[in-house]
Subunit: 309 residues, 2 copies
Amino acid sequence: MIQYLIQEIKKKEAPIVVGLDPMLDYVPSFLLEESIKKYGETLEAAGDAIYQYNKGLIDAVADLVPAVKPQIAMYEQFGLPGLEAFQKTTKYAKEKGLVVIGDVKRGDIGSTSKAYANGHLGHVTIQNTVCRGFDEDFITVNPYLGIDGIQPFMDVCKEEKKGMFILVKTSNPSSGEFQDQLVDGKPLYELVGQHVAQWGEECMGESGYSYIGAVVGATYPKMGEVLRKIMPKTFILVPGYGAQGATAKDLKPYFNEDGLGAIVNSSRGIIAAYKKPEYREWGEEGYAEAARQATIVMKEDLLQNALSE
Amino acid sequence: MIQYLIQEIKKKEAPIVVGLDPMLDYVPSFLLEESIKKYGETLEAAGDAIYQYNKGLIDAVADLVPAVKPQIAMYEQFGLPGLEAFQKTTKYAKEKGLVVIGDVKRGDIGSTSKAYANGHLGHVTIQNTVCRGFDEDFITVNPYLGIDGIQPFMDVCKEEKKGMFILVKTSNPSSGEFQDQLVDGKPLYELVGQHVAQWGEECMGESGYSYIGAVVGATYPKMGEVLRKIMPKTFILVPGYGAQGATAKDLKPYFNEDGLGAIVNSSRGIIAAYKKPEYREWGEEGYAEAARQATIVMKEDLLQNALSE
C-alpha cells in the first residue's frame, strides 16, 4: 500500500491528504436539514449528513490528491450511526482510488492491539468465513505501551500489505509535556523515532520507504528536521498545516531529497473552505467546489514553498 | 460516579471489575452456533453471540461486583455489529446497577478528544435534541498527547459527573520501553503519575477520591507502591491479576489504608473460567455459573491476601 500511496503522490504531484474531520458545524445546513427530514433530530441524521458531505468532498478532490484521512473521533461521537458513516466513507473513498488513512490512534497490549489491527486493517474469521470490519489502508497508532502494542499491528500490516503511522511528535501545543522530556539527554520523541525507524526496517516496501510510518506535527519544524534524519526511510504523516498555524515553508525539512517521504494533512482548511472569506462566493451549496479550489491552492503552495529547491 | 463506584465496592466488599473482553474462542460454541443459525457466518452473528455471552456473565456477577469493563477492541474487531454489542452490553450492565468502565484508551488533541469524550461519556446536540452515543460511566485515556488531550475529557467528566482512568504504567511486558525511561532521574510513569494527581485535584468527589483515576498494572507492584504515594487521592484501576501473572499479595500496595483506592480487573480468569480445569465440571452451558464461582474465589483471595492487615 505504501507503494500505491507513493505512486499516487507522484502521479498527482500532491503529497497531500485531506482530513475528513466532519464537525457538525462544518456540514452545510442544507445537507443536515435533508437528513433530519429523513431521520429526525437523531444520531442517524448526523451520520447520514456527514456521509453525504464526505461524498461531495471526495468527488471534488479524488483526482487531485492521493489520500483522505477520516478522524474516527468525529464519527464516534455520533455513536453507531457515526461509525457507519466512517465505514461508508472509507468504502466510498477506496472505490474512488483514494488511499484511506484511518486516524484512529489506537494502541493497547498484545491480543487487544491484535483485535484493533484486525478490525481496522485485517479480518476476523467467523467459523469458516473471513469478514472485514472497517478495512482502512493505513491507520495511526499510539506508541505509549511499547513494542507489544505495536507488533500486532506490524504483523497485520505485513500480512495484508497495509501500513500505519506511529505517533512520534504530535502537532498540539501540549505535545511536549511528555514527548519532549529528556531521556539520556535526548527528548522522548527522538527515542520513539529511533524505535519507529528500527521497527520500520523489518517492513520495507519496494519503494525504499517502510510501511511503518510516523506522525510528526508541522508545528515543530526543527524537531521535524531532526526526526527526518533519525528516520530516513520512514514516511511521515504531517498534521498541523494551515488551521493549526504551520506554513508550507515549515514543511521543507519533512521531505527527503527525492521530494518524497512526507504527506501533509489539511482538514478544516479544505473541508470547511467555503466558510473562509476567500471562498465565500461558492456559498454553502458550493462547499465541494470550494474544497477543490482550496486543495489546488494548497498543492501550489507546497510545490512552490515546501518542495522547491 | 466515583461516589457510586466506592459505595458499591464497600457494599459488595469487592474492589473487583470484571473485564468483558470476549475473544470469540471464549464464547461457548452453543451460543455462537445459535447466532450463526440466525445471521449466518457474519459479523452480525459474532456481535449477537458476544452480547448473549455477556448477558449471561452480567447476570451471574451483578450482585457480586461493582463494575464491568468491556474492552472495546474486542468488539471493534467485528466492525459495526461488534460495536453494537459493546453498546448493548454497556446498557444492559447499567440497567443491572453496574458501573461500566469503557476500556477504550482513547486520546487525541483538543477538539478530537472532545469528540471522543462526547461519544463515550457525554452527548452531542443535533439541532435541538440531545443524543448520546456509547454512554459509559468511566473510560480509560492515553496521556501521550499531554494536557490538551486530557482537558476535554476532564470537562465532560465534570459536566456529566463521570470519570476516567489515565494510563500511567501499563501491565504489559514492554510497558517500560517508553514509560520507564528516566526523566530528570525519575521514570516517565512517575512524571505522568504526578500530572494525574495534579489534574485530579481539580476533580474531587465527595469521597475524598478524585474521579480522574489512573491505570497501573498489577504486574509491577514496586512501581505500584511508589505511584500509590505519588497519587494518594487517585483511584487506581489495576489490570494484570490472574492470567497476566500478578497475585493478590502483589496488589497490597495499590490500596490505601482505608482499604480503598484501587479496583482490580480480571477478564479471562472470570469470563473464561469454564475452560479452566477447576471449573470444568460446569461445562460450556454452565459458563456463567463458572464465572460466578471464579468471582467468589477472587473476592476471597483479595480479602485475605490483598486487603488483610
